[in-house]
Symmetry: C2
Subunit: 341 residues, 2 copies
């Protein structure tokens, strides 16, 4: 598969004359210490997913500008065109771009909360930010890396047959990315953390406080009144309502019917990550509209607005279906006898 330049090795101590162990820190706190590293590593692996997805996007754009094949479907050119002119290639590139921008914004907001959790002068603000950051870590790790599989796969797809062979480099991202949903805790382990420690433990309060903030962004988008802002507000509201339904389901079932709750754990993570990324895209759209109106960086701001609209219609629109799978679809998972597989 991938990450072939990673200097991974097995270190085995004690084969020749024994090895000496030293106690680091206090006894029985090793797991707790380890998790300081592990939580940082989880966030970092999420960023690794975003980084590889961004590089896959850049390479795909470059290839799509260069590779000439087929006439445009709108008849605008009576000759073969660079494939970036074809609607499905644009759709693939937009999916890659919007996913990267959404996940990157989500990770940046989480990182800012981490800083505030450690350095804000007000203890209450520190605590709020710590809680928010802790909720976001499994989403940054789980959602960004799962989505990096989709993005790097599209990167190969944009290249066609040239992407499947190694020459272009697109295949390497696809092969490398698959480790990201596995190491430093698989997506299912992130989802267990999200369900247990981050949602059920406080009865869904943190999740619902974030949902209330998202509703605030929806109101700002509706107040803006532009067609794009209103459309994004509508998708955001549908995704937020789906999220709240799922949070209620998870909080009610984690103890009462743990098999049903955990059958929905990864879909819940994907829905929550999608919503958080889509929320940041909505916030970005509001800023971009203001900046464009003030005449600053207009082409950049227009691209940001189009990308936010795309994210809402093509990615955030997946959320209500995921809600149905979790809240109404656990029987299909739990009732299947282990022997029947």
């Amino acid at each position: 598969m991938g990450i072939k330049a990673s200097p991974t090795a097995v270190l085995q101590y004690g084969d020749h004359g024994g090895a000496v162990g030293y106690l680091v820190g206090e006894e029985n706190r090793g797991l707790e210490y380890m998790f300081i590293m592990m939580n940082a590593a989880r966030f970092a692996v999420g960023v690794q997913g975003i980084a590889i997805a961004e590089r896959a996007y850049q390479k795909a754009v470059q290839y799509a500008r260069d590779r000439v094949q087929s006439r445009p479907v709108d008849g605008s050119l009576n000759a073969a065109a660079p494939i970036i002119h074809h609607p499905d290639v644009k759709r693939m590139l937009m999916t890659m771009r919007a996913t990267v921008e959404g996940c990157r914004a989500m990770s940046a907001v989480a990182a800012a909360a981490y800083d505030a959790a450690h350095h804000h002068p007000d203890a209450d603000v520190r605590k709020q930010n710590a809680t928010f950051y802790e909720f976001m870590v499994p989403l940054v790790k789980g959602y960004s890396t799962e989505m990096s599989l989709e993005v790097t796969s599209l990167g190969v797809q944009v290249h066609g047959g040239m992407g499947f062979i190694e020459e272009t480099g697109a295949a390497q991202y696809y092969r490398d990315a698959k480790i990201l949903t596995i190491y430093e805790g698989t997506t299912a382990i992130q989802a267990n953390d999200l369900v247990g420690r981050k949602t059920a433990r406080d009865g869904g309060n943190t999740a619902k406080a974030i949902a209330a903030q998202i509703a605030g962004t929806e109101a700002e988008l509706r107040a803006s009144g532009s067609a794009h802002a209103v459309a994004v507000a509508q998708r955001l509201a549908a995704a937020r309502e789906a999220f709240v339904d799922v949070v209620d389901f998870i909080a009610a079932n984690t103890r009462a019917n743990p098999n049903a709750a955990f059958a929905g754990s990864v879909p819940y993570l994907m829905l929550a990550g999608n919503l958080m990324a889509g929320w940041q895209m909505g916030r970005a759209l509001l800023v971009a509209e203001r900046e464009a109106a003030a005449g600053r960086d207009v082409p950049f701001m227009q691209a940001k607005i189009s990308t936010a609209r795309f994210y809402a219609d093509h990615i955030l629109s997946r959320a209500p279906g995921v809600r149905d799978a979790i809240v109404e679809g656990h029987a299909g998972v739990t009732e299947m006898a282990v022997e029947a597989f």
Copy 2:
């Protein structure tokens, strides 16, 4: 990447002393002749996607029965259990299983129509079956191979770190499968065929005739009255309505606004393939209920029923969101300036 045992070679004629070309068949009909082979090849590549997905499923089930890690979340065992007992592992295996069964049933129904199109004594029945088969070919090819990427990725995921290295064989399926969405016409080429020749050309009539047949299956499911049949009928109805909306959109826009229509081409293919596979799962559920009631092969029939229910809740439930992306989401694709990527 993959298919390393495929004896692919470049054949170059004429380097040493020239080469002789022979006319095969009639002049100017070469492309037409080639497409007889190509249409057979497209169906066959779809089946290749189903085959590799089935093998990935079998291997993942085998590993999940063997690998012991963590206690069950329902407290049913006070020791680590084989991972097949964990709800998310069951969910992944069910996703793999349901996808394979749905796509396999879809391809079998298409193959039966091909036989009837060639060998039925009644010319009208032959024509109906030919039209149905032609509609199904891009779905069997496009949907089954796109889904084989998801299934083989889950196959690696079930294996965890053991799946990323080559030892288990799970990674090979993931690497091999990626060519299937590319060769014998990429998914976008299948989708162009679906939009142009298979939908717009007859104003969506074939697509809608199939939708009417699906509504008939929904009625049978509702008449059965079992909780699973009624739930499947509900998802099938939602997916069918989404499909009909998209067919109307595609038929209305393929000439009027081709960029908007083709921006939704691959999502339309995925929605249509999902619906056709889900429809066959609904039909299979009806047969399985009758067989189980008659006491025949009861555990097999129960597994078939659970798998159909899973397909409906976890996979068919994606369809309405895809409709929104196509019908309401083309602006985010078409308005992005090529220079802005």
